[in-house]
Symmetry: C2
């Protein structure tokens, strides 16, 4: 498991999905920026603001959800000097179930601190149809600065 701070936004994103797959609450919370306005929107339409709400949300989710693996696809990445934004699709696979679940549409926002990148906002919502399954997690972000 990579540990924060992260040298690139994609390192923070990879750690986010690793924590999600492991159901590791402490690793998940360590990825978030030290910013009172952090925002996390889950696919059920809950909009959680601040670390306390976000922690409680992941705690509930990890307690109730089956063990999941996540495939990331359709990623578009924009990289600024202080902010980075990734738009992507998540597809989930539950243990023992070969049928994929999703897609979930995601906008992840990262912020650069003095020592690296952390997660500022995670917006996830149900997608209307299955994506084409291409994984382009290695695609290079567009550098804007």
């Amino acid at each position: 498991m990579p540990t924060p701070p992260f040298p690139r936004p994609e390192d923070a994103e990879n750690a986010f999905y690793e924590a999600l797959e492991k159901g590791d609450l402490e690793a998940m919370m360590a990825i978030w920026a030290d910013d009172e306005d952090v925002v996390c929107i889950h696919p059920d339409g809950q909009r959680l603001c601040g670390h306390a709400q976000i922690r409680h949300g992941w705690q509930s989710l990890f307690a109730s959800a089956p063990r999941l693996t996540v495939r990331i696809g359709e990623r578009v990445a924009w990289l600024g000097g202080m902010l980075a934004v990734h738009s992507l699709q998540e597809t989930f696979f539950a243990e023992g179930d070969p049928e994929p679940r999703g897609p979930v549409l995601v906008t992840n926002v990262f912020i650069r601190g003095s020592d690296g990148w952390r997660l500022l906002s995670h917006h996830a919502s149900p997608g209307a149809e299955e994506g084409n399954g291409d994984t382009d997690g290695d695609a290079q972000p567009r550098v804007l600065h």
Copy 2:
């Protein structure tokens, strides 16, 4: 109607909602960045990429939806040198119907070009419950650079 380019991200956002309320397709499309990777996610879970798909999406929506007014609330704004991100809630009011529709949870991403700010990504999804209705559209964004 303000015209692009916009001196501040919030000017682009205000123009976006003005175009949405008017059902003005040309004004809506003029707000988007000249970037092949622009992304627009509507609350029905459609993820539209590129100007052609995005135009077609708004054209269909404007042709079918009733005339709407939009109230913006719960806005959190992050401002970097090249990218700006706003997280907010939309509440809609249809003509002749006093009942609000929503909330819709939104992450708007703006990019700064040589001459001003335009919209790069709009992610809208159904919210689980009505927000408290506070409008803080005049709140100052956090400046990160």
